[in-house]
Subunit: 294 residues, 2 copies
DNA sequence: CTCAGCCCGTGCAATAACGCACAGAATCGC
DNA sequence: GCGATTCTGTGCGTTATTGCACGGGCTGAG
């Protein structure tokens, strides 16, 4: 059953009853309607209409087509309404992907957004691999660093996360408190695998300490944080997280060159839609209240 | 939502995931697919797909279209199957229209036909006006006389109904029994309006008797028959009906030039279908058993 | 790193679809 | 009964759609 347009033509003929009338409705010449009907009947091998001087009347097959195409027409009209309205409405799914380790910041934002727009189903994806906006894997991405983005992505800076060096109180009691960067000899450190991170503070650490001083490494930020809290070594923790955590001692305060700039990225096709715009503005508004960032 | 073909194209793209793949399925060039998508998105004002190097992935709107068009495709396939199979199957409605007054003959035929093909719903239409086959008002028509049929009608002779002149026994007791055609003076006759009948025996009667001898006239054959039986006058009754009716006296036996040839008429478009063929052959077979016809 | 394979996108030529005009036929109203 | 109207059907010229070929980009394997 190729050529749905011919079905649509036959539908109008069955509905109106005349070729001329259907042609008017369809906005084409009546000769076109005749040719569509002829072609469709030839392909089906059955007469859809009885031709007579007052018009076309549908046969049984024509009536069957009429009812099916009627339903189709209704559904397409509803579909068009939904699609056209979708750009205007804030509803459906909103998929946000972000770097790991900032879910404390994001989760309240997502929840308040969903509270504001109850028709939206929110999904937050965090994974090692980078989700591709141009594959439609997410509507909004929150990424770190200055990495080059793809062509069609709209990038805007969000906040800069301040990160400091911390250690657990239990670690300090056991290994002592280094006075400064020059006093790091003999200390143990917790860091991410260099293969999976491009965070500036981790890169800095690799230059500041010996490789064998990295006592513990992991890929997941939460795992690193847990390791520091457990006393495995000195490690980087975002200031906003360290402040709320007891038993953490600041070794070195946040430095500007450790700061990780967060970028808010959307695909250009989705950037214009009201749903994405709503979330973007909501996120930027919420980010103003984030402490210990800038 | 004009242009259903573009929806069909978009449906295949959403299903397959690539323009090239959809083009293969649709049997068109991939450039055509791209143009269809572009046109459809432009008309809807919404992106249906995210374009990337590995193909097209559907957006939310695209997924919506996919599910709607999927259902449409299924329904169209089923529709095509029904329509193509309809010509082969003996089912659905079968509308027969006939001249009034032969329902005794037809009803058993219709009933046995329905018994033979239980999926058929049979309708018998008899009315003063002639139902038009080319308007699709009936599949089969049984008509009388030699009237010219329209262009696309298939005509085949059925039987010739023998008609005689009869009177009720009560009439004969009151007015006497005419010995022959020459003895009609003073007798009363029952006849159809000349405006509504072209039956040869009625026309003959108008020449054989004086107009004021027509004591009773009607349009409906059953009404005429009832009038004759009630003793209103001498009238024509088909031999097959008169034989089974008590209290009827034959005035004149059937004559060849009174015979009314019945024609079996079908529209050329429907004549080929198996359903109509089945009924036509069933009717002709049954007609062989009709008594007092030839 | 390079090459092969598989996508998408666009200018240009061919082709199929379309609109136009006219003819024929039937119906409606006067 | 007869013109007026309406509808279908077809040949012809035009337009729009399609197919083709080529270029470019991305991906994944060797």
């Amino acid at each position: 059953m190729d050529n749905w347009d011919e079905i649509r033509t036959a539908y109008q003929v069955a509905r109106v009853g005349t070729v001329s009338g259907a042609a008017d409705v369809l906005g084409v010449h009546h000769a076109t309607v005749i040719r569509h009907i002829d072609a469709l009947e030839k392909r089906l091998g059955t007469k859809l209409f009885q031709r007579h001087s007052r018009g076309y009347t549908a046969t049984e097959a024509g009536h069957d087509l009429l009812s099916v195409a009627q339903a189709t027409d209704d559904q397409f009209i509803q579909l068009a309404g939904r699609i056209k309205g979708r750009g205007e409405s804030v509803s459906g799914e909103l998929i946000v992907t972000s770097i790991a380790g900032i879910s404390d910041l994001l989760t309240p934002v997502m929840l308040s957004f969903q509270e504001k727009w109850p028709d939206v189903r929110v999904r937050l994806l965090t994974d090692m691999r980078i989700f591709r906006l141009d594959y439609g894997e997410a509507h909004v991405a929150i990424r770190a660093g200055d990495a080059q983005e793809e062509q069609d992505n709209v990038v805007q800076p969000l906040v800069r996360i301040r990160t400091g060096l911390y250690a657990a109180r239990s670690y300090v009691e056991r290994f002592g408190l280094p006075a400064s960067e020059a006093d790091f000899d003999g200390h143990r450190f917790v860091s991410a695998d260099l293969t999976t991170t491009r965070a500036p503070f981790h890169r800095w650490l690799r230059t500041a300490v010996q490789p064998d001083q990295i006592a513990y490494s992991a890929t997941e930020p939460a795992a690193l944080e847990q390791a520091v809290i457990a006393g495995a070594g000195i490690g980087f923790i975002p200031a906003f997280r360290a402040e709320g955590t007891p038993n953490l001692v600041q070794i070195l305060p946040p430095r500007d060159d450790w700061e990780s700039p967060l970028r808010l990225v959307t695909h250009v096709d989705l950037h214009r839609t009201r749903k994405v715009q709503a979330f973007v503005s909501h996120l930027k508004e919420s980010a103003k209240d984030w402490k210990l960032c800038r």
